[in-house]
């Protein structure tokens, strides 16, 4: 097994799927000769040609709408939005249209589109290159939402997303692209959408997270173990929608304490739903109030280092919340 970065895993997944199925194609801004702003499609236009690697105008509504229309014909488009922050013009086609296609046609029609969205902060991106957009899609029936944290998960889940017959919002945390490396098998494999994974087992506290924050949670868990304070179980959701309630509840029932960590704004975020889930279905098992370490309710992390640091959850903030829970 080779050690690869998240961006390499993403590239490999698309490369292999495009070789496997000629209905798969990529489209977006700069995906062609530029190879994508993060080089996710580097070498693709040389390999697959401009018919299947389409450089589009800078117009996100049509990127999503055209991909959706192509999917009605059985194609499996992978539209890319360069940054989550630029997604908003495409939201009509994604939330308004794609999410309702199957339901709104009583199953006559479906939309096998995987929209890839680099998202998230901690990279000095400021208000318009750092946004977390997951809550809007998490709220929308008809969409699936995937947010992997590791190269292995990114590759296996992206391949599943491309083969899925529904619109999948595939969220790639920009900071993980080159920072996070890990083992990725050479052979073809897929991971099921809708399955969380316990990334670190523990007995005392459950921490539920996804994306970049999973890595900070793992570091915090190691800190607490080293301090002898608690054995923390880290649940990586991997898929936000459909939510793997079973894995979350199983862990919470085992540990009796729950911390939820995400970078997205706290109010109305994914964590709110997980807290409601635990309160509803694991109330009798809880030994402490449910904790959340999340982005504050300001519109995205600002550009200045001080302000960005103040916004971002990090290992220390998570560790402190875990200590508080352990002491409760």
């Amino acid at each position: 097994m080779a050690v690869k970065s998240v961006i390499e895993a993403v590239r490999e997944a698309m490369w292999e799927e495009m070789h496997r199925d000629e209905q798969v194609f990529v489209m977006g801004e700069d995906v062609g000769w530029r190879g994508g702003v993060f080089l996710a499609t580097q070498g693709f236009i040389e390999e697959f040609g401009p018919e299947r690697v389409i450089d589009t105008p800078l117009a996100e509504a049509s990127i999503m709408g055209i991909a959706l229309g192509a999917s009605f014909r059985g194609m499996r488009p992978i539209p890319e939005v360069e940054f989550a922050d630029f997604l908003w013009p495409a939201v009509n086609q994604l939330i308004g249209e794609a999410a309702r296609v199957c339901y709104g046609s009583d199953g006559n029609l479906n939309a096998p589109v995987t929209i890839r969205i680099p998202y998230g902060g901690g990279i000095r991106g400021g208000l318009f290159h750092s946004q977390n957009v997951e809550a809007y899609f998490f709220h929308t029936p008809g969409l699936k939402v995937v947010a992997p944290a590791t190269p292995y998960d990114a590759k296996g889940l992206l391949k599943s997303a491309i083969r899925d017959n529904n619109p999948v919002v595939f969220l790639e945390h920009k900071k993980t692209y080159r920072l996070v490396r890990g083992d990725v098998p050479e052979e073809d494999y897929v991971l099921p959408i809708g399955k969380a994974e316990v990334k670190r087992p523990g007995q005392n506290i459950t921490v539920v997270s996804y994306g970049l924050m999973v890595h900070y949670c793992l570091e915090a868990a190691e800190l607490l173990a080293a301090e002898g304070v608690a054995q923390v179980e880290v649940v990586d959701l991997r898929t936000l929608k459909p939510l793997d309630t079973e894995t979350v509840l199983e862990s919470v029932k085992k540990t009796g304490k729950l911390l939820i960590v995400h970078e997205d704004n706290i109010t109305g975020g994914v964590g709110s739903e997980i807290a409601a889930l635990a309160a509803d279905q694991a109330f009798d098992y809880l030994d402490a109030p449910i904790g959340r370490v999340c982005g504050p309710d300001v519109p995205t992390m600002p550009f200045a280092q001080t302000l960005e640091d103040a916004y971002m959850p990090n290992t220390q903030k998570i560790a402190q919340a875990l200590r508080n829970l352990a002491a409760y």
Partner: protein, 346 residues
């Protein structure tokens, strides 16, 4: 652009189409009678639907009265071609029914009953997908269908299918940003898309002069690198001829925009009262520009149908619509247990 020729601006004429002329290439008298039947049946059901709304039996309807000739002319051209696909909008009853839905299917849909072929009564009438007849209309959001139609055309091209895609929209939707994006992309990739703007001069209550600073939407096509033509949308044969040429052009060279100048004979929907924003004289004048009356006169004057034959066709349509109404009234709405079905595809 050698084949396509610009036609008369219907709005400027003030009369509904001088359509006495020789039959266009490829059209037989039987075709005319066939499309006359469809047109009469569609008008009959359209009027019935409005009446049933007033009886509280149809929750909402957008009438297509005034748009029939433009839509059916395009359908005739598409049928003659044999390899076309349709992305209509909510005022396109003549497309959706014209392609082959029965009056009963239409009535089931308008009454929100089990058996609506588009969405099984999840959506407003005749919205969703009727793939059996090559029609998709996913939503009510104006102009959302344009980028989708362009994507569909792109997919056909990638798959080696030389299908031509018809996408329909109103003058209102021409203001949407997605309209620009769709036409721009179609122009760049020379996709076989025919953009049909059914310009009835009103976006609900807002007149054209408040929607745009120009008189003809078709002029915008030049900015996207493809031809835009004005067509008398009250004349079925004018629509047919323009669409036939547009199909040939689309397949060879890429997109075409056809601006069909026509009239909205009814308020925007059954929930609208057009007397609040349209002068009485204008509403009366518009009634005199009825494409169904014009086509009836044409058929009579040219000797394709006698008055007696026309009356028989109208009587058959009334009977068919009566039967469809009875069948739909007797039908059940979908069972509540359907609520959770098809949120996701398997």
């Amino acid at each position: 652009m050698t084949q396509l020729t610009n036609q008369t601006d219907g709005h400027a004429d003030g009369i509904a189409a001088d359509i006495s002329r020789q039959l266009p290439q490829g059209i037989t008298p039987e075709d005319l009678v066939d499309f006359y039947r469809r047109m009469v049946t569609i008008r009959t059901i359209d009027e019935r639907i409005w009446m049933m709304n007033r009886q509280g039996k149809v929750p909402i309807a957008a009438s297509g009265q005034g748009h029939e000739a433009a839509q059916l002319g395009s359908l005739l051209a598409a049928e003659k071609d044999g390899n076309c696909f349709f992305f209509p909008y909510y005022r396109d009853l003549s497309i959706k029914m014209g392609v082959g839905l029965t009056p009963t299917q239409v009535m089931l849909s308008f009454m929100g009953k089990e058996g609506d072929p588009y969405s099984n009564a999840r959506q407003f009438p005749l919205q969703g997908a009727d793939l059996e007849h090559n029609v998709i209309q996913t939503s009510n959001v104006v102009a959302a269908q344009l980028t989708q139609a362009v994507g569909y055309a792109l997919a056909c091209k990638m798959q080696g299918d030389d299908k031509v895609i018809f996408v329909y929209f109103g003058d209102g939707a021409s203001s949407q940003g997605e309209t620009h994006e769709a036409m721009n992309f179609a122009g760049v990739h020379k996709l076989p898309v025919i953009f049909i703007c059914e310009n009835n001069a009103y976006a609900i209550s807002v007149p054209q002069r408040m929607q745009m600073a120009i008189g003809d939407v078709a002029n915008r096509a030049e900015g996207y690198g493809f031809p835009g033509l004005i067509v008398d949308g009250l004349d079925l044969l004018a629509s047919y001829e323009a669409c036939r040429e547009a199909i040939n052009h689309a397949r060879r060279e890429g997109p075409v925009m056809l601006e069909m100048k026509l009239e909205r004979l009814m308020p925007h929907t059954t929930d609208d009262d057009d007397s609040r924003y349209r002068p009485k004289e204008e509403i009366e004048a518009v009634r005199g520009r009825d494409p169904v009356a014009a086509f009836s006169n044409f058929m009579l004057e040219q000797g394709y149908l006698t008055e007696e034959q026309q009356e028989e066709i109208r009587a058959q349509a009334r009977r068919a619509v009566n039967e469809a109404t009875d069948a739909a009234e007797a039908a059940l709405p979908p069972d509540a247990s359907n609520l959770h079905n098809h949120v996701y595809a398997p």
